[in-house]
């Protein structure tokens, strides 16, 4: 187990270097000159452009820029954004907001997704099952911007139940709406996934044995059935947490949440290499860690899976 974790941690290093380099190259190849773009429709003054390029290190060869960036990273320096603020500050502003929103959405997914999934899995073909099936189908087929804008207009503007945008990201009541919109799509997937595995495992031998032993139903479902059925669901949830952390660009835009998605979008638009790479670096780490946690959870859930 320990060796497995150590190996996985070591594997992160090349992945990390590869992704940051790729992103760096991609941002660099975006069309347009970010420094000249600062002048808007006015002519870019050559002396000022030269000075700014020098200040941001854009006049060096690309590989050297990348090297400077990575070596800065190991000293905890994320570089400067074109706004004149350290990228570290931008990240410190954006990530807590997105983490709050993502966790909120994640909890909604977990509770309702698994809850509904188990209920419908146990009552296959009954009315509730059909209703949930139709509901998830609808949710999956509506694009998120339609859903988000509809929810904002109806619940926020028309009925005035909540504020239409997030004005204070520490106020959980304001985060409810974007969190629900964010969660709905994955919630539909989680529900269907859980339903299927529960329904399958209900027919398994060990469940029959458990029932035959006369175990109470709560124990049969709660322990024996759930433990096995959750493996695919956990896999999905693990990657989904990474997705949520990646900042739902659309949802954050609709509800004006100053989170990661927003920051990333702005940075891409203005070709801010350091900011884009900074955000993505953190996201890569989130992904790597969450997939490691998922792998370790397998072993906990299913003793037959062992990492040698």
């Amino acid at each position: 187990m320990g060796r497995f974790v150590a190996r996985r941690l070591l594997q992160m290093i090349p992945v990390f270097i590869g992704t940051t380099l790729l992103i760096f190259l991609m941002v660099y190849s975006l069309p347009g000159d970010p420094v000249k773009a600062m002048f808007g429709t006015k002519a870019a003054d050559p002396a000022t452009v030269a000075k700014l390029r020098h200040d941001y290190g854009l006049d060096k060869p690309l590989i050297q820029q990348y090297w400077d960036y990575i070596s800065g990273l190991f000293q905890g320096d994320f570089g400067q954004s074109f706004t004149g603020r350290p990228v570290a500050d931008l990240l410190a502003d954006a990530f807590p907001v997105t983490i709050r929103l993502a966790l909120f959405a994640f909890v909604i997914e977990l509770v309702f997704g698994i809850g509904l999934g188990v209920l419908t899995g146990l009552r296959r073909g009954k009315f509730l099952d059909q209703a949930v099936l139709i509901f998830t189908l609808i949710v999956v087929s509506i694009p998120v911007f339609v859903l988000g804008n509809m929810a904002q207009f109806l619940i926020g503007v028309k009925w005035k139940l909540v504020s239409p945008t997030v004005r204070d990201s520490e106020d959980l009541t304001q985060l409810i709406l974007p969190a629900v919109v964010l969660a709905l799509l994955s919630l539909a997937y989680v529900t269907r996934l859980t339903r299927t595995t529960v329904a399958e495992n209900l027919r398994a031998d060990y469940i029959r044995t458990a029932v035959a032993k006369g175990l109470p139903r709560r124990r049969v479902v709660g322990v024996h059935l759930m433990r096995n059925s959750l493996i695919p669901v956990v896999t999905f949830l693990g990657t989904d947490l990474g997705m949520l952390m990646g900042g739902a660009i659309v949802t954050e835009g609709i509800f004006n949440v100053p989170g990661v998605g927003n920051t990333l979008y702005q940075a891409v638009i203005t070709s801010e290499g350091p900011t884009v790479v900074g955000v993505v670096t953190v996201l890569v780490l989130v992904y790597l860690v969450s997939s490691l946690v998922v792998d370790l959870l397998y072993a906990v859930l299913d003793p037959r899976i062992r990492y040698a």
Binding site: T41, A44, D45, T48
Partner: protein, 542 residues
């Protein structure tokens, strides 16, 4: 008799109905200026997160400018009718448009208690013009004598100060220009010419996070990036435009649709630009609280005159022909839902110096003449018009409509070429990589015809994206630059504008509108030609 009787009934019914509707519908919106006002009330204002630290000499975009415009006061300002007013200056005098004497109103204070002196201006301009400090607005000082010493094209500055700026005493300084500029007084309005306190030079970066100005509002608390920035009434403000409210909370939005939802719920009070998607229905949504009026910006199609084909002199006829194939009025009404007006030249109506008919018949819709002119000019290069634009602005609607008109009325194939970002399209344009027409827009820096004519069409001018050069037009502009009176100057620039149409380096299309709205919490909301509310005049209802 019977008829008369029933007519009476009808009249009676109408009266009753009218009374009912008057009672039912009249009280929803408070009428302008009828509610009690809270002189310390704070209102919120839609804005975008400023792209850089808030230093006036480095601010050249809307998000940051709105903060600067409230926290600072320059020498001069403009009223809502674009009339030049003295602000921090007592007087700005010149006899030859080249030597200026500026006298300040004494006793003005910065928000930190420092007194505003002549040196607050001179030192700030010298600092910002210095190439070492890489300020985005540095080119604004280029007409001041000695600018090239502090801001050479290449290499280090030879001096720290411009020889054209001299402090006479605490409340007086003189400006000498390297050539006469008749609109220099108007130019002094721009953010680049604001004063800076001594505190600025200690730590410009910290200042950018928390500016200290001399304007009617001072910053409160710290700047919550991407969320909000608050300014409050400055008790020591000496100007005439004292705020009728307690302050402003600028709320930052990344998407204007989100802000519009807040406006409908009275969560923000003023939105100077409703989203493009709502232009068709915002007047319905907001009723009396909707504003649609002229704005100092235009939208045109520029041509790459540096291109071998488009640069041929006879192609002027082709451009004029294409111009006459476009039915501007109809596009403005239908595709653009009244958010723009058909242009009569490069200068929007209502700007000092504007006269009708700069473009003359070339902006009239006449398909027969259009075809004829295009034929005379030897046809469109490549027999196809491609219009390049940036898709991240609200451009698709009008570009598609213009292309349709060209196809239908001029019989020329027309395609649109959308670039994903403004940055990308600007790069192609400024690097002169395009061989086809492109979207060209201008938002005024100060309300005057000169700003619309000279910045884009003078030989070698900074925003002359077309690479256009015509000695006669330049001569007319130079003559206007040296004119003795503003009226004479305006006339001169209009002559130049008319002359431009003979070559038509760009096709004038539309002048823009401010489409704005405000909430039920505020009244007396007036918006000027720069699309800014007269913030100090806004009244917050109790």
């Amino acid at each position: 008799m019977r008829g008369a009787k029933s007519a009476k009934w009808v009249v009676g019914a109408i009266v009753v109905a009218m009374a009912a509707t008057a009672c039912g519908g009249g009280n929803k919106d408070d009428d302008e200026g009828s509610a009690a006002v809270d002189p310390n009330g704070v209102f919120s204002y839609y804005n975008t997160e400023p792209q850089r630290g808030l230093i006036p000499t480095n601010t050249n975009e809307v998000g940051g400018h709105y903060m600067m415009a409230n926290m600072f006061r320059g020498l001069v300002s403009f009223d809502i009718d674009n009339k030049l007013q003295m602000a921090q200056a007592q007087s700005v005098d010149t006899t030859d448009n080249q030597h200026y004497t500026v006298k300040l109103k004494p006793g003005w204070k910065f928000h930190n208690g420092e007194t505003v002196t002549a040196n607050s201006f001179v030192k700030a301009w010298n600092w910002a013009a210095n190439a070492k400090n890489a300020q985005l607005n540095s080119s604004w000082y280029e007409s001041i004598k000695g600018y090239e010493d502090v801001h050479p094209e290449k290499g280090d500055p030879k001096a720290d100060t411009m020889s054209g700026l001299k402090v006479v005493n605490d409340n007086e300084f003189t400006i000498e220009l390297s050539r006469p500029v008749s609109t220099f007084k108007q130019r002094l309005y721009y953010d680049a010419f604001f004063p800076l306190p001594e505190a600025f030079y200690k730590d410009p970066k910290a200042f950018g996070e928390h500016p200290i100005g001399n304007g009617p509002y001072k910053m409160e608390g710290s700047w919550a990036h991407k969320v909000e920035l608050k300014v409050r009434k400055f008790a020591d403000y000496k100007g005439d435009d004292k705020p009728k409210n307690g302050g402003i909370d600028f709320k930052f939005y990344s998407k204007d649709d989100a802000a519009y939802a807040d406006l409908l719920s009275d969560k923000i009070d003023i939105m100077y630009q409703v989203p493009n998607s709502q232009v068709g229905k915002f007047q319905q949504d907001l009723g009396k609280r909707a504003i649609s009026q002229a704005y100092g910006g235009n939208t045109n199609i520029g041509f790459p005159l540096y291109d071998k084909e488009w640069g041929k002199p006879e192609k002027a006829k082709v451009r004029q022909g294409l111009s006459m194939a476009i039915d501007r009025e109809t596009i403005a009404k239908t595709a653009l839902k009244g958010s723009k007006d058909a242009a009569t030249g490069f200068t929007p109506k209502g700007i000092p110096g504007w006269q009708d008919g700069a473009c003359g018949e070339f902006c009239k819709f006449d398909p027969a003449k259009a075809k004829d002119l295009i034929k005379q000019g030897g046809g469109v290069p490549g027999n196809k018009v491609t219009i390049t634009y940036n898709a991240d602005g609200a451009n698709k609607e009008w570009v598609d409509a213009v292309c349709n008109d060209i196809r239908q009325n001029a019989g020329v194939e027309c395609v649109t070429d959308a670039k994903s970002t403004f940055q990308e399209s600007r790069d192609l344009i400024t690097e002169k990589k395009l061989s086809n027409p492109f979207r060209m827009a201008w938002v005024m820096d100060f309300p005057n015809i000169a700003n619309f004519v000279t910045e884009q069409f003078r030989t070698g001018a900074g925003a002359n994206d077309m690479g256009y050069s015509n000695k006669d037009v330049d001569a007319l502009m130079n003559k206007a630059d040296e004119a003795k009176t503003p009226e004479e100057a305006n006339k001169g620039y209009f002559e130049a504008e008319k002359k431009l149409m003979e070559d038509m380096p760009a096709i004038p299309l539309f002048t823009d509108h401010t489409v704005a709205g405000y909430s039920k919490r505020v009244q007396n909301v007036k918006i000027d030609y720069q699309r800014q509310a007269i913030w100090t005049e806004v009244e917050v209802k109790k």
